[in-house]
């Protein structure tokens, strides 16, 4: 009891200490930041510091002197200015990451308050501290920094991992919400605000229509960063998630066009119908152009990845650089950078993933997640800091009307649009769905940055706008962000299904696709499935050939899924099993023998065939792979520019190939499989397993003579004395068998490759009785030196 209490208090203490450390660090960094960030003060500080230090050390003659006086060599000096900018950036990033760490130490807090709120609060604190320290708060949420550095990682992460299927299935709905919904919001808010401003007594009459509409367009866009941050924690069902998220991504084009349109013409003071038409054309160009730019870069990236098989280390780089360039190119032409980035990521993903190595894939995934996570954290912190920085012009009417109008327009927009959309949807959106979609329309940093970009001279009420934008952001993120989780629970909205994709579902997904396409063809209706099927066939026939290296382009989706599943299972087993131990894994509940129909009625003298349970097979595979791994690893020299080739992975491709060909051969083996088995030991003994493994080569070697093109499996044994081979040998030595591990390893390889296939009964021991001759039989196969000698060995084993 007391031990537990002690432990409890210890962990408490640890947490407390860690938080204290973080806070102290915070103070330290804040002061440095504050001190360093204001340029003129820092310069003064530095020179002041210099002199101060020099005087301190009594180094004379440090002032600039016409005659060069020799001064003592400065052993230690401080030059902050030199590294100022990178240092500050790193400090901010470090701060953001430590904050993220800190939150997860307090689980109660992070379950009630979404992370974005906490980060904004931290930003407020940091800004407040800087202000208290007397320094000027740095304008951290600079629009350039935001749009060029902080936003792209988040969008790329979203675009690369966008679930294409649900996105495309709901594209109509998403586009309706994104385009029509945003337009409606912008005009509704802008127009009504103008109307309110015109009311006497609000002292706002100097705000004209166009600036109001501009403000409306800035504030009406749903923000992807905020949506991501909040929705990630509520685990809502896929449909709603993709609806709100897709809308937040695609409304960028509308926002860009409206923003530029109103900004241009605010100076002129009026907008003619001609301008409106131009605006519509501009919208089409902006969105379609953005997508086109993204798609081009995506295809370039896919094409490049086709040739990277020899330089695997830089593969992830291509993904990132091409995407970033797509974003920058789109921004160059004032096209929609976000849509370009999404298009680039979505287009390149299937091809790049087929080409790059597993490690590169993991790298891409983790880098994207890391960057987007840091970006998101920084954005929210900076929002907090920028709030403190001001300047603010608070106007009760304007701000409150903004907040109310935004909510109202969002609700009306969603309800109205859903009414129209439901006429075209199969799966209708219920009221609950509509509520979540409306409530999930969060505003975020994009609105703030756009407002920040406004020219002060053209828009004298810029500060008021900024204040209103910040208030709206705070309102949506804090109030809506915090309450959406309990509301989701309260309304019992369907949550995300955590179930793993099973192979049956995958089979039936494909099956349904083809079935529905067929039915559509019979009906004569060129619908959804028909076009999808056509696109897929076009993709397979032409595009994949160009963009995917090697033979893999022929792989249909089902097979790829199956391989992925096998791979995952094998990895899981390696990770959980660990070490080269005897198979002790719990065998799966059902194994192959349960579902295989009994083939021939067993002859009287035959014993039941021992079968491998799936778990044991996996264990054996794992053992063999790790052996192969060890041997190969010893043979490669280290080179910084090549990854130590992961035999597990390179071997995987070979493995697949081998498997295919062996399966072909196995068919022929089956034809000759009326041999008796000669198992001597009990079915379960490891000896028995290995014996069967060892004797397989015989069956294999028969066929080998007749067919070419079978890969000779070169197993570079490090030495026959490696611990494992010794282990196995010991077993056989019990039976008086000697010999190298070679034969058995080769056999083991065969077994590995045959995977789930039922072992043929044939051992080439036809005609031998049980008992007597089995030992020599085993000895013979164990002493089998290898494939090259098979011709001589053939005779004794085949009739």
């Amino acid at each position: 009891m007391s031990v537990r209490v002690a432990l409890h208090s210890r962990s408490f203490l640890e947490r407390g200490l860690l938080l204290l450390v973080i806070l102290i660090f915070l103070e330290g960094t804040v002061l440095t930041l504050g001190a360093a960030s204001s340029p003129d003060i820092s310069a003064q500080d530095n020179t002041g510091g210099h002199d101060h230090l020099d005087d301190h050390r009594g180094i004379a003659g440090s002032h600039v002197h016409p005659n060069y006086t020799k001064k003592a060599f400065p052993v230690l000096s401080l030059d902050y200015h030199h590294i100022q900018v990178p240092f500050e950036i790193s400090l901010w990033v470090l701060l953001a990451s430590l904050m993220k760490l800190g939150f997860h130490l307090i689980p109660q807090l992070s379950s009630i308050v979404p992370e974005s709120c906490l980060l904004i609060v931290v930003g407020l604190l940091v800004g407040g501290l800087i202000k208290l320290a007397g320094e000027e708060v740095p304008p951290v949420l600079d629009s350039n920094l935001f749009f060029l550095c902080l936003l792209p990682p988040i969008i790329l992460d979203a675009g690369y991992f966008l679930p294409i299927r649900p996105f495309m299935e709901n594209i109509g709905t998403i586009l309706m919400f994104a385009v029509v919904g945003t337009l409606w919001n912008a005009f509704f808010v802008g127009g009504l605000l103008y109307a309110v401003c015109q009311i006497e007594g609000t002292y706002l009459s100097q705000v004209e229509l166009l600036p109001c509409l501009l403000f409306g367009s800035i504030i009406s866009a749903v923000d992807p960063v905020a949506v991501l941050a909040v929705f990630e924690e509520i685990h809502i069902n896929e449909l709603l998630h993709i609806l709100v998220f897709g809308e937040s991504l695609l409304n960028d084009a509308v926002t860009v066009v409206l923003y530029h349109l109103f900004e241009e013409y605010s100076g002129a003071g009026e907008v003619t119908p001609m301008d409106v038409v131009l605006g519509v054309i501009c919208f089409l160009i902006v969105s379609l152009g953005g997508i086109a730019v993204g798609a081009i870069y995506g295809i370039l990236a896919a094409f490049t990845s086709r040739f990277t098989s020899h330089t695997r280390v830089i593969e992830p780089l291509f993904v990132f650089v091409y995407s970033y360039m797509a974003y920058l190119s789109a921004e160059m032409f004032h096209l929609s950078g976000i849509m370009a980035l999404i298009a680039c990521g979505a287009v390149m993903r299937p091809y790049v993933e087929a080409n790059i190595s597993h490690k590169s894939h993991t790298t891409v995934k983790y880098f994207l997640k890391m960057w987007s996570s840091v970006s998101e954290t920084l954005i929210f912190i900076f929002l907090g800091v920028a709030t403190v920085a001001g300047p603010h012009a608070w106007n009760w009417t304007f701000v409150s009307v903004t907040v109310i109008l935004c909510l109202v327009s969002r609700v009306i927009g969603v309800v109205g649009l859903t009414f129209i959309i439901n006429k075209f949807r199969i799966v209708k959106l219920t009221t609950k769905d509509q509520f979540i979609v409306a409530y999930g329309g969060l505003r975020g940093a994009i609105a703030f940055s756009l407002g920040y970009l406004l020219d002060k001279n053209l828009f004298p009420m810029r500060t008021m706008f900024l204040t209103a934008i910040i208030t709206e952001i705070f309102f949506t993120v804090f109030v809506q962000g915090m309450t959406i989780k309990p509301l989701v629970d309260l309304l019992a909205v369907k949550k995300k299904q955590e179930a793993k994709r099973s192979i049956n579902e995958e089979i039936h997904t494909q099956f349904l696709d083809h079935l529905l396409t067929g039915i559509e063809d019979i009906c004569g209706h060129y619908g959804h499935h028909h076009w999808k099927d056509k696109l897929n066939r076009f993709n397979k026939k032409y595009i994949k050939k160009c963009l995917i290296a090697g033979e893999r382009y022929k792989e249909p989706q089902l097979i790829a899924f199956y391989h992925k599943m096998e791979f995952k299972q094998a990895i899981e087993l390696v990770e959980s099993g660990g070490g080269v131990k005897l198979p002790s894994a719990v065998p799966s509940q059902v194994s192959m023998q349960n579902i295989q129909p009994k083939k021939l009625p067993p002859p009287v003298a035959e014993r039941a065939l021992p079968q491998f349970t799936k778990g044991r097979e996996e264990e054996i595979r794992k053992i063999l792979r790790s052996n192969l791994q060890k041997t190969r690893q010893r043979l490669r020299s280290y080179n910084r520019h090549t990854l130590v080739a992961d035999p597990f992975e390179d071997g995987w491709n070979d493995f697949i190939l081998k498997k295919q060909r062996l399966i072909e051969l196995e068919k022929k083996v089956r034809l000759m499989s009326n041999y008796l088995t000669v198992p001597g030991a009990t079915p379960d003994s490891p000896t028995m397993c290995r014996a069967r493994l060892a004797s397989d080569p015989n069956a294999f070697y028969n066929i080998k003579a007749s067919s070419d093109g079978v890969p000779t499996i070169q197993v570079d044994l490090a030495s026959p004395q490696s611990p494992d081979s010794v282990n196995m040998l010991n077993e056989f030595s019990k039976r008086g068998a000697t010999g190298q591990g070679l034969g058995q390893r080769e056999g083991a390889d065969r077994d590995e490759d045959q995977g789930l296939m039922m072992k043929p009964a044939g051992k080439g021991e036809k005609g031998e009785e049980e008992g007597g001759n089995k030992n020599p039989g085993l000895m013979r196969c164990l002493s089998d030196p290898g494939p090259s000698n098979e011709d001589e060995e053939d005779e004794p084993f085949l009739p």
């Binding site: 199969i426 089979i507 039915i519 079968q611």
Partner: protein, 218 residues
């Protein structure tokens, strides 16, 4: 050919509409298509369906065509196939692809699911014995991957085996080494596809949308 003819057809259609659940307009369009496929005869044979060129690229072509002539899908509770089908049977098969209405009760939804999954089950269970054996499942997967070349054929077996193992594990739990799992029964089939929202997925838009947008022909 005269008012009586069209009146009779109208009456028939109304009758069919009530029985199968299609709207009059949809039945009219489907009838047009039926006439087109059967070259204006009263019945449709396999050759007529096989002659649709768009189906050539479909790996499930044979099974889809068979499904139309399978007695089990025609609400006749017996096994076997028919040689030709009339318009009513055509409609009956097509009615499996109607989407779910927006407001239906739980039991109706369940009934719809069973109906659709029954259709799929019948497509797999080619010998009509009520279970999908390993052989049948293997064949189904092989057909699915038949356009994938030689690589597909070999893996198809492995995939079918893995899928079967999965079904057996989820439905039967632990099995002794001597026990034998005969095949997937309809109840098991329902169970493994429980999370597969088939009532929303298995539909053809045509059967729900305004027929003005339909493009018949070819």
């Amino acid at each position: 050919m005269g008012a009586s003819q069209s009146a009779r057809t109208e009456h028939e259609f109304q009758d069919l509409a009530d029985r199968t659940g299609f709207s009059l307009e949809q039945i009219g369009n489907l009838n047009k298509r039926f006439r087109q496929l059967s070259k204006n005869e009263e019945t449709l044979s396999r050759q007529d369906l096989a002659s649709i060129s768009a189906l050539d690229n479909n790996p499930l072509r044979a099974q889809i065509i068979n499904a139309f002539f399978d007695k089990r899908n025609l609400r006749q509770n017996e096994a076997g196939t028919v040689q030709v089908i009339g318009f009513e049977e055509f409609l009956m098969v097509m009615s499996h692809f109607r989407p779910a209405a927006m407001h239906i009760t739980e039991e109706e939804r369940e009934k719809l699911r069973r109906e659709k999954l029954r259709f799929l089950f019948n497509m797999h269970d080619t010998d009509s014995d009520g279970t999908i054996t390993l052989e049948e499942y293997r064949r189904a997967v092989e057909e699915l991957l038949s356009k994938a070349g030689t690589i597909g054929q070999e893996t198809a077996k492995a995939i079918a085996d893995a899928a079967m193992l999965e079904v057996a594990s989820t439905t039967r739990g632990k099995m002794e080494p001597d026990e034998f799992y005969e095949g997937i029964t309809f109840e098991n089939f329902l169970q493994i596809l429980k999370t597969f929202d088939i009532e929303t997925r298995m539909h053809v838009r045509f059967l729900n949308m305004d027929t003005a947008t339909m493009r018949c022909g070819k």
